[in-house]
Amino acid sequence: MKIYFKNLIIMVLLLICQLSLGVIFPNLYLVPDFILIFIVLKAIFNGSKQAMIYGFSGGILQDAFLGTFIGIFTPVKTAVAFLSGLLSGRFFPENLLIPPLGVFLATIVHQFLYILLKENYLFNINILVVFRELILPMAALNALLTFAFYLLYIFLGRRNINWID
């Protein structure tokens, strides 16, 4: 219970950083989805079951800032956490490329699920253009950040990745 509470506080802090980035840097076009990165890493290291709880909580937190309680982020983030959890236990922690790759794919799945569920987007946008100009750069940005964080922790000698617990 204590660990869940600790992770919930981390997610709240990540959300605050995510929401404030655009205010501090007004010209920033893409803001990374820190909560998604956290959830996917959780799923990769701890499996689907735990990650889905965090996906559900993270989704609720993000939905609160879209004016609804259970909105679009709650089911989408829970589903992405489940899918990411399928990677769990399939690679060594020293493999630096798997977590960024997981986040890259999860971002693409996350954004596509989001568009599919938004009626006003689904029928009004050119999916290919949005994929090329928004989803792909966003996925690359999230993956790059994941790589940087993961590299930092590996080089700090915390190979047992306790921080993720």
Partner: protein, 276 residues
């Protein structure tokens, strides 16, 4: 490897049911009062933290800005003092015109124009999604804010409308949002053509103005203001300028591309129009 034994299958099935239930609630717009109340609690708990975080960042930014630009600030103060004197003179002249205007309106039995009741607010958060153009401001129900109130910049450019109100904060749906529609009118003495201004859904794309009559007198460079035809926005708020014009609906109407005025300023502080 993920093992699909009996217990795992039950958990997966339960989780799938949970996701599908959430999707059902979302797609059908089902309002559950308790759930909404809980959502409001989360929102109202988080926004003060955001406000505090934003204040700390602003103070740090201001400290360094002042530290590295003392000379510029001195020059600006001198310039602003001069400007202030000029503006004071203009106010004196304008107050004479205002009195004359009121007297003539009374003579003609014209309806008195109501001044906007406005309140200033600071932007404390951005949108959590790249697909939703929303900002959060540090004024809420306690300050008398309600849903659908128009939001403008200090220069009078239309920013958006209040979408959701918390106790001490509110969310503003920006004019660039995909769901945002407002009536626009050409601001030219010899043309008052109207159309619908729609958000592009993206910050790097311009808004469009459609449903313009096929023979409308509209040109590139025309300034577009809010028409005030709906009761949601007052008339005369600046929206933007036309930069491209093309035929729409196989020549039955015209469509224009608008460069928004809010792109020329940084939206850090806004004004909410409480009544108009």
């Amino acid at each position: 490897m993920y093992k699909f034994d009996r217990n795992s299958l039950i958990i997966v099935a339960l989780l799938l049911i949970l996701i599908l239930t959430l999707l059902f609630v979302f797609i059908n717009d089902i309002e559950i009062p308790f759930v909404n109340w809980f959502g409001d609690i989360i929102y109202n708990l988080l926004t003060p933290i955001l406000n505090l975080f934003n204040n700390i960042i602003s103070r740090i930014q201001n400290f360094f800005n002042i530290l590295f630009s003392i000379n510029e600030i001195q020059e600006e103060i001198t310039f602003l003092r001069q400007q202030n004197q000029i503006l004071e003179r203009q106010i004196m002249f304008l107050s004479n015109y205002d009195r004359e205007n009121k007297r003539l309106r009374e003579l003609l039995n014209f309806k008195e124009k109501v001044e906007y009741d406005m309140i200033g607010a600071e932007v404390i958060a951005n949108s959590p999604s790249v697909f939703e153009q929303l900002i959060t401001i540090n004024r809420g129900r306690r300050d008398g804010l309600e849903e659908r109130m128009p939001v403008i910049t200090y220069n009078g450019f239309l920013v958006g409308r209040i979408d959701h109100v918390g106790s001490s904060s509110a969310q503003v749906r920006l004019i660039t949002d995909n769901q945002f529609v407002v009536g626009g009118v050409v601001a030219r003495s010899d043309s008052r053509e109207i159309g619908l201004v729609r958000g592009s859904g993206r910050r790097d794309k311009n808004n469009t103005m459609d449903n313009i009559a096929w023979d409308a007198d509209i040109e590139i460079g025309d300034v577009i203001l809010t028409s005030g035809l709906s009761n949601n926005f007052p008339e005369g708020l600046k929206i933007g300028q036309i930069i491209n014009l093309e035929t729409d609906n196989y020549g039955l109407s015209q469509k224009a591309e608008l460069e928004l005025d809010i792109y020329s300023v940084t939206i850090e502080e806004v004004m909410v129009i409480k009544n108009f």
